[in-house]
């Protein structure tokens, strides 16, 4: 759980973005504290949490920044995109407009985040089967066309929450460790401060991962 000075091999900064009310904060609390709060308040500005996981016998510490969904906070929250190596772009499978806005969020990332950021499209609230407004195939297709990973989750019943973070962190790890091999000066500095590792923004191709 959110331990602090623990040893870790990699520290990755992840941002959680998406429309207001899609469940970003509960995804984060489910992943970092295994909690779901039906009475959660709206996020103001940005909130922070961490959790470490094991990938390939390496300890990866995720530093996750949960952002406010409302447009007015964009100027504040977009500052947190800098240095982020991953983004979970969340929509609500029961609210089609939140899915339609995904393209706007992608533009936000293009404008403010590092160009090699790994993005996972997350259709949250998959427990609301009877209210589904966004077909899985449609979102999967969209993700594939835009070079995004894709998963559907439910912070409420926990399904796929662990997997979503696990997958994005693994992908980042693979990317970073490959790059580390490619160029030895792009080294990783574990164990220090809040700085994030990813080095020069060389182009690479993201292969859309599959899930669901």
């Amino acid at each position: 759980m959110a331990a602090s000075n623990d040893e870790y091999d990699f520290l990755f900064k992840i941002v959680l973005i998406g429309d207001s009310g899609v469940g970003k904060s509960n995804l984060l609390s489910r992943f970092t504290r295994n909690e779901f709060n039906l009475e959660s308040k709206s996020t103001i500005g940005v909130e922070f949490a961490t959790r470490s996981i094991q990938v390939d016998s390496k300890t990866i510490k995720a530093q996750i920044w949960d952002t406010a969904g409302q447009e007015r906070y964009r100027a504040i929250t977009s500052a947190y995109y800098r240095g982020a190596v991953g983004a979970l772009l969340v929509y609500d499978i029961a609210k089609h407009p939140t899915y339609e806005n995904v393209t706007r969020w992608l533009k936000e990332l293009r404008d403010h985040a590092d160009s090699n950021i790994i993005i996972m499209l997350v259709g949250n609230k998959s427990d609301l089967r009877h209210l589904r407004a966004v077909p899985t195939d449609e979102a999967k297709q969209f993700a594939s066309e835009n070079g995004l990973f894709f998963i559907e989750t439910s912070a409420l019943d926990s399904s796929n929450v662990e997997q979503s973070f696990q997958q994005i962190l693994t992908e980042i790890y693979l990317l970073v460790s490959n790059k580390a091999i490619e160029s030895s000066q792009d080294n990783v500095q574990p164990g220090t401060g809040a700085q994030i590792i990813v080095s020069s923004a060389d182009d690479y191709t993201k292969s859309p991962g599959g899930c669901c």
Binding site: A2, S4, N5, S20, G21, E39, S40, K41, S42, T43, I44, G45, V46, E47, F48, A49, T50, Q63, A68, Q70, R72, Y73, A75, I76, A79, P97, G193, A194, Q195
Partner: protein, 415 residues
């Protein structure tokens, strides 16, 4: 006089009746102590250091633990004086402090400076709604003009509501309405009062009407929080009965008055909510400078850990610390804010600095991550009125020490 007060809050003479069962005692505790406690001396701001200030002093804190959790419903009184006797607003109360306020509030011309001075130390809950409306500048100080002005304002709001909502939801600004609709249920979610559908519909109307009339900022998340103290204070006298059975005229009055008071409040801090939120950015800079001057080691530590003020204090300013302390504590803080010049903008920064300094020693042992986790959820659950008053007193002290200090805002700590 009594008639003015009565018209100020409706037409029924029972409006101000207290009942033995439900009294918002958690608000009253702050001023009930008759005997000075040892904390008074420590909590006392150095009023002597400035003559410009209304010499606020902390009221004698009550040691009684208060519920400071999310549930802020009126509770059975635990105050030391007899709060259970029915006191109508237009009858002179017997408790000395209530009487003092009653006398102030029922004057032909309210002495606003004296009211501010007294309010700094906490307002008795039985007097609070009228006191707030006067301090906010919503009620005219002149009693002879008051009832007419208030009636006009309430009518004006009611007419707006009628116009705005007469053509159904489809005629509303869709994204604005959507945002308000998803935030209102998340407003004070632990409180049955604010989970009442009747209150929620009312909050929605106020927020929508305010937002469409203030397009430069519009509705911004957090403004919903700022509305709740008004509802709580204005509804408190009526909560002997369930919200659903309240007379429409009472609800209309509470809603209109909350709208106007929210408007007054936000008038003073509107640039907190305009594009890029420059008011908050400015206050963050002030706060950082202030903390650097008060507690250089803490400032240096935060700096060395890479902790930025915006990361933890943004919400403190955006929601006026309402996410960090209970609604009851907030209401007590607002008594003082309303008594301070620019309380919600300028004085609030001193309060934020004092709030941060509460954990200075602890923070200096923590790294980036632990610092943020602490400051995102500071342990204020057990805070009592005494803690809030101490915080206000400390803030006042910092204000006296640094406000007129010429290098205050330009100070940059050498690092």
């Amino acid at each position: 006089m009594s008639s003015n007060t009565r018209t100020a809050y409706g037409t029924s003479s029972t409006f101000w009746k207290r009942t033995p069962t439900f009294v918002p005692s958690t608000i009253e505790i702050v001023y009930t102590g008759e005997t000075p406690s040892p904390a008074e001396t420590t909590a006392k701001p150095p009023a002597e250091t400035t003559s410009a200030q209304p010499a606020p002093r902390s009221a004698s804190p009550q040691p009684t633990p208060q519920p400071t959790d999310k549930v802020q419903e009126p509770l059975t009184s635990t105050s030391s004086y007899d709060d259970s006797s029915p006191i109508a607003q237009d009858e002179a109360p017997t408790h000395p402090l209530e009487l003092k306020f009653h006398t102030l509030l029922t004057a032909a011309n309210v002495d606003i400076e004296e009211l501010q001075k007294q309010s700094w130390k906490g307002i008795p809950s039985s007097q609070r709604s009228t006191a707030w409306c006067l301090l906010m500048g919503y009620f005219p100080l002149n009693a002879s003009r008051r009832s007419q002005t208030i009636s006009r304002k309430r009518r004006e709001y009611t007419d707006w509501v009628r116009q705005t909502f007469s053509r159904g939801e489809d005629a509303l600004d869709r994204s604005l309405w959507h945002q308000i609709r998803i935030d209102v249920p998340r407003t004070t979610p632990g409180s049955p009062l604010f989970q009442s559908p009747r209150i929620q519909r009312s909050l929605e109307r106020v927020l929508y009407c305010w937002a469409v009339r203030h397009p430069a900022s519009g509705y911004v998340q957090g403004i919903n929080d700022l509305l709740t103290p008004f509802y709580y204070v204005f509804l408190s006298p009526h909560l002997a009965q369930p919200v659903d059975s309240l007379d429409d005229s009472v609800m209309d009055t509470v809603e209109a008055d909350s709208f106007w008071c929210l408007t007054k409040l936000l008038d003073g801090i509107q640039d907190n909510y305009t594009h890029a939120q420059p008011g908050i950015q400015r206050q963050l800079i002030k706060m950082k400078d202030l903390v650097s001057r008060i507690d250089a080691p803490l400032a240096a530590h935060l700096d060395s850990e890479g902790v930025e003020f915006i990361q933890f204090a943004f919400r403190w300013i955006n929601c006026l610390l309402m996410r960090e302390v209970s609604l009851t504590s907030t209401i007590r803080m607002w008594d003082t804010y309303l008594a301070e010049p620019d309380g919600f903008s300028s004085f609030h920064i001193y309060v934020c600095a004092a709030f941060l300094l509460k954990w200075s020693k602890q923070i200096q042992q923590l790294d980036f991550q632990r610092t943020l986790l602490l400051l995102q959820k500071p342990p204020t659950e057990s805070w009592t009125a005494k803690d809030v008053e101490l915080l206000l007193s400390e803030a006042y002290m910092y204000k006296c020490l640094y406000h007129n200090s010429p290098n205050h805002y330009s100070a940059t700590q050498k690092r």
